[in-house]
């Protein structure tokens, strides 16, 4: 029992990331009809927004402390971050410690700008082109973005820790009445799951309860009719693209303490997120979220030693296997609308 709960929990954080990326992917596909292979790159850019914010907050100036000596008996050079200088050492240290959550605030305008630039500059010209062209050009864009990051930040993963109070693990075992230390779960992953739930909820609420969201949903259902009603649907879809890229950026920012960002993390997640979207149903928001969590949990179950002993290698292939089965038996996906990309 303990191990089952543990596997479900382990699947949640990866599932949350899949769900957030897939949500943006399917939103773009549902509204704009574009297959965006560069969406993983947006996730990666989000993670590097966090890295940049961390680096900026750690910018320091050097002072020479005459009273202390270093090991060569020279006056000690002390690095003081500007933030600590401005706000006092204690508040400054706290700000630096909280750099990852603070990066979320920076991520909103940055990711929105990147999203709008991407849509207006490139993807807009590909609405009428075949899906293969869309895949190819966004694939090229993903390579370019990833290489720019590699050129600026290097090829090695950059550790970006969570705030100190979230370091350590939560003892679920005691809480649920099992033995202590039976189910340990890092605090930050709990935070990530909660964060993902809030973001998903916010996106749904936005689309469900605002006039803007209503227009977007109408546009997803029948773009032409909405246009005939005199609504400039293209303008709204730009905002949708920006929204999707903010969501992907958020997912990336908050994922940095779990996985130190590197330049190819976007591609790694992209392939799986596509599988998630396909399993959930192209253009279905609820499907993307549900299948994100489903596949995340499934993957962690398949990684259990008992399962691997039974079917060797299953942990490596389970997600792809599920995708193949779903595509062959129910091509529109678990929650997909009838007739969407079903040919």
């Amino acid at each position: 029992m303990e191990s089952i709960i543990l596997q479900i929990l382990n699947g949640l954080d990866k599932g949350s990331a899949y769900a957030l990326i897939a949500l943006g992917l399917t939103l773009i596909f549902g509204t704009l009809g574009v297959v965006n292979f560069a969406h993983g790159a947006l996730f990666m850019l989000g993670a590097f927004v966090a890295v940049t914010v961390k680096n900026l907050l750690n910018l320091s100036f050097e002072t020479i402390d005459e009273t202390r000596l270093d090991f060569l008996n020279r006056p000690l050079r002390v690095q003081t971050p500007y933030v600590e200088h401005w706000f006092g050492p204690e508040i400054g240290a706290t700000i630096i410690d909280w750099s990852v959550p603070l990066a979320l605030i920076v991520a909103v305008p940055v990711m929105a700008l990147i999203g709008v630039a991407m849509e207006r500059g490139l993807i807009r010209h590909f609405y009428k082109r075949p899906h293969a062209d869309q895949i190819l050009v966004t694939f090229g864009l993903a390579i370019v973005l990833q290489e720019i990051i590699k050129a600026n930040f290097g090829a090695n993963p950059i550790p970006t820790p969570a705030p100190e109070i979230f370091i350590g693990s939560f003892d679920f075992g005691v809480w649920l009445g099992f033995d202590p230390y039976a189910i340990m779960y890092p605090y930050w992953r709990l935070v990530y799951f909660g964060f993902a739930a809030v973001v998903v909820g916010a996106v749904f609420a936005f689309l469900q309860f605002t006039t803007f969201g209503m227009v977007v949903r109408a546009g997803m259902a029948d773009r032409e009719t909405v246009g005939l009603l005199g609504i400039d649907i293209d303008k709204r879809f730009v905002i949708v693209f920006a929204l999707a890229s903010i969501v992907a950026g958020f997912a990336g920012v908050m994922y940095t303490p779990i996985l130190s960002p590197n330049y190819h993390m976007g591609m790694d997640f992209l392939v799986l997120s596509f599988v998630v979207v396909v399993v959930g149903g192209m253009g279905s928001l609820a499907g993307a979220v549900a299948s994100g969590f489903l596949l995340g949990i499934l993957q962690s179950f398949a990684s259990m030693t008992q399962v691997i002993e039974l079917i060797p290698g299953i942990n490596q292939v389970v997600i792809y296997l599920v995708a193949v089965i779903v595509l062959l038996t129910r091509p529109r996906g678990l929650l997909g609308r009838k007739g969407v990309m079903e040919e």
């Binding site: 062209d133 390579i143 720019i148 590699k150 995708a323 091509p331 990309m341």
Partner: protein
């Protein structure tokens, strides 16, 4: 000649001549000169050029003719490599059985993957092939380690139970791949003045295989079967109205192109007998897509050009560093020199992939027909009757959709 029409014969003869004289053509700069780094006439490079040429030509049979965009073709290349190494381990160091097994193994795998994947089309097909290739990659890394060698890759060793031939040479080394006794590494070097031209047997063997593969591809393009494949691309529902099922044709194209990939994998092993799982990674699949699109999908010569350009530029550009750049612009004023170097530097050396991605995007956006279409546009600009031809109904912007039109006139 050999069932080719006049234009195709001309194209084929040009290809043959280029293949035979490649050691000269690719070695235009004398050794020791500052331009010698742009030479490509050394065996490794020439072998790579023809091998990736085969890979891209095969991929084009699927993508160029039927329009099915596979993102998992590297899996067949990888399986071909593994099969080739195993044949060398168990049977003989002669490369012919290794190549045959490579083609058969890749063909069998592509039959299975194609049978399942072709039930869907469009983006679903791309994702299915991607999923299958990733599965092969993950399995090769984990469970199949006894067969694939896992992370270290599959190599020959001194105690291979080789049925025909010996497991070690008299001097205690691992025997090298050969073709009925002629070793792949053999070759002669001719020194002419400051130039030295290397004639490597391995290259000429690979080039012969390439010539055969290319001949088959031309015949296939011109055959009624090739016409059916184009029908799959242009309109599947109309095809089924006429009572033809498109799936067997698409599957045949998929298996043929998988076998080409396997052949390329087998040749890689014949030149250098080791195989690793990274050959199956999806970025490797992406690379062959880039080659085909860059050259011009659906044309005969396009994929070869694309493969050549990418393989050549990859090895040349990744060796350029800042010092080399400064050397180029040393004649200019210092500030101009540093401006140029700052602009160019991100795109060379380590930044080669950035250049590749950027060029690829530009090609997809502005030149969907690739290099071949670019050449055709240039040719039309310079020919007088070209202008009249355009007026008489050819599309104004001259952009054939995905190169279907340009497939009719290769090499122009």
């Amino acid at each position: 000649m050999l069932g080719l029409n006049k234009a195709d014969t001309r194209l084929y003869v040009i290809i043959l001549i280029m293949l035979i004289f490649a050691p000269f053509i690719l070695n235009p700069f004398p050794d020791g000169s500052s331009l010698a780094q742009f030479n490509a006439g050394y065996p490794d490079m020439m072998q790579k050029l023809v091998i990736f040429g085969i890979f891209a030509v095969g991929f084009n049979i699927l993508f160029g003719l039927t329009g099915y965009l596979s993102f998992g073709h590297a899996a067949f290349l990888g399986v071909g490599s593994y099969a080739g190494v195993w044949m060398m381990k168990l049977l003989t160091m002669n490369v012919i059985p290794a190549l045959i097994l490579s083609v058969l193994a890749a063909g069998a795998l592509s039959l299975i993957i194609g049978f399942v994947s072709l039930r869907r089309s469009g983006i679903y097909f791309s994702i299915l092939t991607l999923a299958f290739a990733q599965m092969c990659y993950s399995l090769a890394y984990s469970v199949l380690t006894p067969i694939t060698g896992g992370e270290t890759g599959l190599q020959l060793s001194l105690d291979d139970p080789r049925v025909i031939g010996t497991s070690q040479t008299a001097s205690g080394n691992i025997p090298v791949p050969h073709f009925f006794g002629i070793e792949m590494g053999q070759g002669i070097t001719i020194d002419v003045g400051a130039w030295s031209f290397v004639f490597n047997f391995g290259y000429y063997f690979a080039a012969t295989v390439f010539a055969l593969a290319m001949f088959l591809a031309i015949r296939l393009f011109r055959s009624p079967f090739g016409l059916m494949l184009r029908a799959v691309k242009s309109n599947q529902s109309r095809m089924s109205y006429t009572g033809l099922s498109s799936r067997p044709y698409a599957l045949a194209a998929f298996v043929i192109s998988g076998m080409y990939a396997g052949l390329a994998g087998g040749l890689m092993v014949a030149m250098d007998p080791l195989a690793g799982a990274e050959r199956m990674l999806w970025t490797a699949s992406g690379e062959v897509v880039l080659m085909t699109i860059l050259g011009g999908a659906g044309t005969l010569i396009g994929p070869v050009l694309g493969a050549g350009v990418i393989v050549y530029l990859e090895s040349i550009i990744s060796t350029i560093n800042e010092a080399v750049l400064h050397g180029w612009f040393s004649g200019l004023p210092a500030w101009l020199d540093s401006v140029f170097v700052t602009i160019i530097k991100p795109f060379v050396g380590e930044g080669w992939h950035l250049l590749l991605g950027a060029v690829f995007m530009l090609v997809v956006i502005f030149l969907p027909g690739g290099i071949v279409e670019g050449g055709q546009r240039l040719g039309r600009l310079f020919r007088r009757d070209g202008a009249r031809g355009r007026k008489n109904g050819a599309p104004k912007n001259g952009a054939p959709k995905n190169g279907t039109d340009s497939a009719e006139q290769p090499g122009e």
